[in-house]
Symmetry: C2
Subunit: 203 residues, 2 copies
């Protein structure tokens, strides 16, 4: 849908939708909130919410001021297949933290999720469904979702250690050094069937 310029009052409508979205995600979680309910709370037709923001995950990304919308980025990272997926994921994740434009937004999201239970609930559901769910659907084996969540744990910990706590020498290491160190960890989680059962077979 091509945007053809803003009508008078459009930014007020967008803001009303974003405020209603933040309220709804906090009160009902990511899974519980609906485009319809958010439109009603904002006093607009749900079709207008769709028009402005597209999908629920894009609305969540806008409402939470996430620097990227997972649904817009992950398909490209996952499409080439399991081979090299660990490296693609850590490289993209690092790029969000290395850029001053997106680092502040990432930090704000992390902090609110870690101190506010309501924010944590909505973010957990969003990450579970839109990020880890997409990753897990692209990897083989019955424990794919567990392995996707282990990938998430290493990426979250990398961000906390490197950018929040700034633990050295990890904080000062070159991005490519970090990619080289962490990509095999993610790849092992992604590709390593039998992780759950202990019947491991190393690559």
């Amino acid at each position: 849908m091509v945007r053809t310029g803003r009508r008078p009052g459009e930014s007020g409508t967008r803001d009303a939708i974003l405020n209603a979205a933040r309220e709804s995600f906090a009160a009902q979680g990511y899974d519980g909130a609906t485009i319809r309910g958010i439109g009603r709370a904002a006093g607009v037709d749900p079709a207008l919410v769709h028009h402005y923001f597209g999908s629920k995950d894009a609305l969540f990304a806008a409402a939470m001021q996430l620097p990227v919308d997972a649904s817009a980025v992950l398909p490209d990272l996952l499409a080439p297949g399991l081979d090299g997926m660990g490296e693609r994921l850590v490289r993209f994740f690092l790029s969000l933290w290395e850029s001053g434009r997106t680092r502040a937004a990432m930090l704000a999201v992390f902090r609110s999720a870690l101190v506010q239970d309501r924010a944590a609930t909505a973010l957990r559901e969003f990450i579970g469904r839109e990020v880890l769910g997409r990753v897990g659907s692209q990897v083989p084996g019955p424990d794919a979702q567990l392995r996707a969540s282990l990938v998430g744990s290493q990426l979250v910990g990398l961000a906390i250690a490197r950018y929040v706590l700034r633990v050295e020498p990890l904080a000062s290491a070159e991005p490519e050094t970090v990619v080289a160190a962490v990509a095999p960890t993610l790849q092992r989680y992604l590709a390593h069937e039998g992780l759950l059962t202990g019947t491991s077979h190393h690559a």
Copy 2:
């Protein structure tokens, strides 16, 4: 030194020392604060600080209400050597979070470090010197400290994902499943020389 019962006023003195320690660690960081300065701020002889709390890291653990003192625990975890070190570290770390008695304290420490810059500075220095420094000193190679900090990143991320964000199915997985999944990651970081340079040789 054997404790022979509390004198009148002892708990007041201990509290004064702990308050002075919290102030000093926040103002000067872990590295900058000294037993001498903390004693002076509390209006007691530094020898009394030593008497009550022993070392600076034990005083930090008491002041920050850490559930364990790293200097009391890590030697036993590291002493058996590199073989199995990853498993011993993740198993012990998980035990701190699995017990209701210590989980709340771990959570409080994490949250304060993530939202207060002064708390983050002191905790970073403490972790760097007393935890990762000790781990790094027990593993081979010129990039030992980087590899120790990568171990820290996976453990921090595991705690955040499993116990704070409660990402499923990681949050509900059995502790032994988590140990089996994460121990090889830590072991690779610990044992994998050439991580920095890219001249990797897989075990």
